[in-house]
């Protein structure tokens, strides 16, 4: 990165929050601070919901995911449109009519205080940790590749967002997200255009797609019922439905976005907008990854994208072994490129691609042996390496700004929700009767406190899997139980507070036990947790808590 890149980066990430602060500077009451001033229209809500979900992990990891495994990951989003329709039809009208500040406040009205606190508690644990991952994930990658200090990068991504979220509350989150998403859209579109433009001149876009398809990167839809396949149409529809229903219906970071709407209609249209644009948007991001893959069929890629880890291994005496692998990799790459230019339909290309992949796997093993094992998958470094090494100056700064904007927009929504939930579902419950101004101040302090917690989590967390999946796994472990609480509230009318409370505690314990002892695909935890709460609550209400006095 040169001076122009830094200028673009800092101008972008500072200007948007400053504009947001200018637009929202006032002394809000609690309702304005938590829900905005009810002037927010459906377009802003739609973008805000989209930006809250699409954190930095989406833009860093997903192109790398397509580079490694193709675009089949898109199917994970197939359940989302159906979930959003259910949220529009069932959840939003109830939240709007009861004028609740948080989703868990509704649980208190429907059941009792302890169930409300349980719902809020599960959310706070899950989101508090996930918020830390949202900041840590881009920081570890950017700091490794740009040579920045990790803690400084974490503070750069997290510090500023804490400040403006504490000051401006929900309204500033919505306003800044709109412009941050604009930056993201422009940046990703430019990256896509440049990736296509940098393909060989004699290769048309359609021919390029055919090559990517033959190399197994473009299977978007797979109707297979083979349970060993990770991404299929069916797992996406079913698992994705429950994950999305939990996320959009019962996660305060999303509920708060659409409750900021100026009407029920605005909230619903904003959500339906997401139902329609999410799949095309994810498709384009994954297709960008496929384009980067194609680009690296003609331009030699590094044998291992996480070069700092690679260099550490070289410095610890593994240089000769790695050089040998590099020579083999160079040879395979040259032969593959030759074939792609002269005989692009030759089946030998796939064999050479498999060989190149095997060499990369061997390289990773050597890095593990050398103790230079990186904290995230190498695929997470693919897109940013492409950006830093092959895009022109200025646009590099813009793309790094895209990562920061995505981090800031997702983090601001999470902090806003964590602060609100703690204030409304805990602080106000245990300290009722204070003035509105008192609660606004308390919410600000609590938001600041959660900001520091997420920074602390980011400073200490160590990832175990792909960045996208770390967030999804964490969500899936807790979301099922949270969703179960809401589905019992909506659909099992005879179930009362104690039955659902203990049912949810049992269900959560069961999911955690399964998580630590089995290898069930993570999307299924949503279904298992949710189903278990419904079942346990119904059984407990029919047996132990049958007497209404006992409930």
């Amino acid at each position: 990165m040169n001076r122009l890149d830094y200028l673009v980066l800092f101008a972008t990430i500072i200007a948007i929050p400053l504009y947001g602060l200018w637009r929202t500077y006032n002394h809000p009451n609690l309702r304005e601070y938590l829900k905005g001033d009810r002037t927010i229209r459906w377009g802003t809500i739609g973008l805000s919901v989209l930006a809250t979900q699409a954190g930095p992990i989406t833009f860093l990891s997903m192109p790398g995911q397509a580079y490694e495994s193709g675009i089949g990951f898109i199917q994970n989003y197939f359940g989302q449109p159906f979930a959003l329709i259910v949220v529009c039809a069932v959840f939003v009208p109830i939240y709007q009519r009861l004028k609740v500040f948080t989703a868990y406040e509704y649980l208190g009205q429907r059941f009792d205080k302890k169930t409300r606190i349980l719902g809020g508690f599960l959310f706070l644990i899950q989101r508090g940790i996930a918020g830390g991952i949202t900041i840590y994930a881009p920081a570890i990658i950017l700091s490794a590749l740009l040579g920045w200090d990790l803690n400084l990068t974490i503070w750069l991504a997290g510090g500023f967002v804490i400040f403006y979220t504490v000051v401006g509350g929900t309204k500033i989150v919505s306003i800044t997200q709109r412009y941050q998403f604009l930056v993201i859209f422009v940046g990703m579109a430019l990256a896509f255009a440049i990736a296509v433009y940098r393909l060989p001149a004699n290769l048309s876009f359609t021919d390029a797609l055919h090559i990517a398809g033959r190399m197994g990167k473009l299977q978007a839809v797979d109707f297979s019922i083979d349970p060993s396949k990770r991404y299929t149409f069916w797992s996406g529809i079913l698992g994705g439905f429950f994950l999305s229903l939990s996320y959009f219906g019962a996660d305060q970071s999303q509920v708060q976005r659409y409750l900021a709407g100026n009407s029920l209609r605005a909230s619903r249209i904003g959500l339906l907008f997401n139902a329609l644009v999410k799949v095309p948007m994810q498709f384009l991001i994954l297709l960008l990854g496929a384009m980067v893959f194609l680009f690296y069929q003609f331009e030699k890629p590094p044998i291992f994208f996480n070069q700092p880890s690679y260099q550490r291994a070289v410095e610890t005496g593994y240089g000769p072994k790695l050089n040998e692998l590099q020579t083999q990799f160079d040879d395979v790459f040259a032969r593959k490129r030759q074939l792609l230019q002269t005989a692009p339909t030759d089946p030998a290309i796939q064999q050479l691609d498999s060989r190149a992949r095997a060499i990369r796997d061997e390289t990773k093993k050597v890095l593990e042996e050398a103790g230079a094992n990186p904290k995230s998958k190498d695929s997470d470094y693919v897109f940013i390496t492409f950006v830093l090494q092959h895009l022109p100056h200025g646009i590099v700064g813009l793309l790094v700004a895209v990562i920061f904007c995505a981090t800031m927009s997702a983090t601001s929504a999470v902090l806003n929700a964590l602060g609100s939930t703690t204030a409304v579902d805990f602080y106000r419950v245990f300290r009722p009767g204070e003035s509105d101004h008192h609660y606004v101040i308390a919410t600000r302090w609590l938001t600041l406190g959660w900001g520091l917690v997420t920074i602390a989590v980011a400073s200490f967390c160590r990832l175990v899997e792909n960045l996208i999946e770390a967030g999804n796994i964490l969500g899936s472990v807790f979301y099922g139980s949270i969703l179960g609480l809401f589905l019992v509230a909506f659909f099992l009318r005879n179930v009362r507070g104690s039955a659902v409370f203990f049912g949810a505690v049992l269900a959560q314990a069961m999911v955690l036990a399964l998580f630590f002892t089995t290898n069930i695909g993570y999307l299924w935890y949503n279904l298992i947790g949710c189903g278990a709460v419904l079942l346990f609550a119904w059984i407990l209400q029919s047996t132990l808590f049958r007497n209404p006095a006992a409930a």
């Binding site: 898109i74 197939f78 449109p81 159906f82 959003l84 329709i85 529009c88 039809a89 069932v90 009208p93 109830i94 009519r97 009205q109 429907r110 797609l209 055919h210 990517a212 398809g213 033959r214 197994g216 473009l218 299977q219 978007a220 839809v221 797979d222 149409f233 619903r268 339906l272 139902a275 329609l276 799949v279 095309p280 498709f283 509230a489 909506f490 009318r493």
Partner: protein
């Protein structure tokens, strides 16, 4: 919360929901066509 508090699933928004499902089905059909064309 009484039974009447539950909004009817198919309210005046029914057309919007059906429209969203149809558009999503078109998206999936296009993705499948893309898969068949380029895989």
């Amino acid at each position: 919360m009484s039974h009447h508090d539950h909004p009817p699933f198919f309210s005046s928004w029914r057309k919007a929901y059906v429209f969203a499902v149809v558009l999503f089905a078109v998206e999936v059909a296009l993705l499948y066509a893309f898969t068949l064309r380029f895989s």
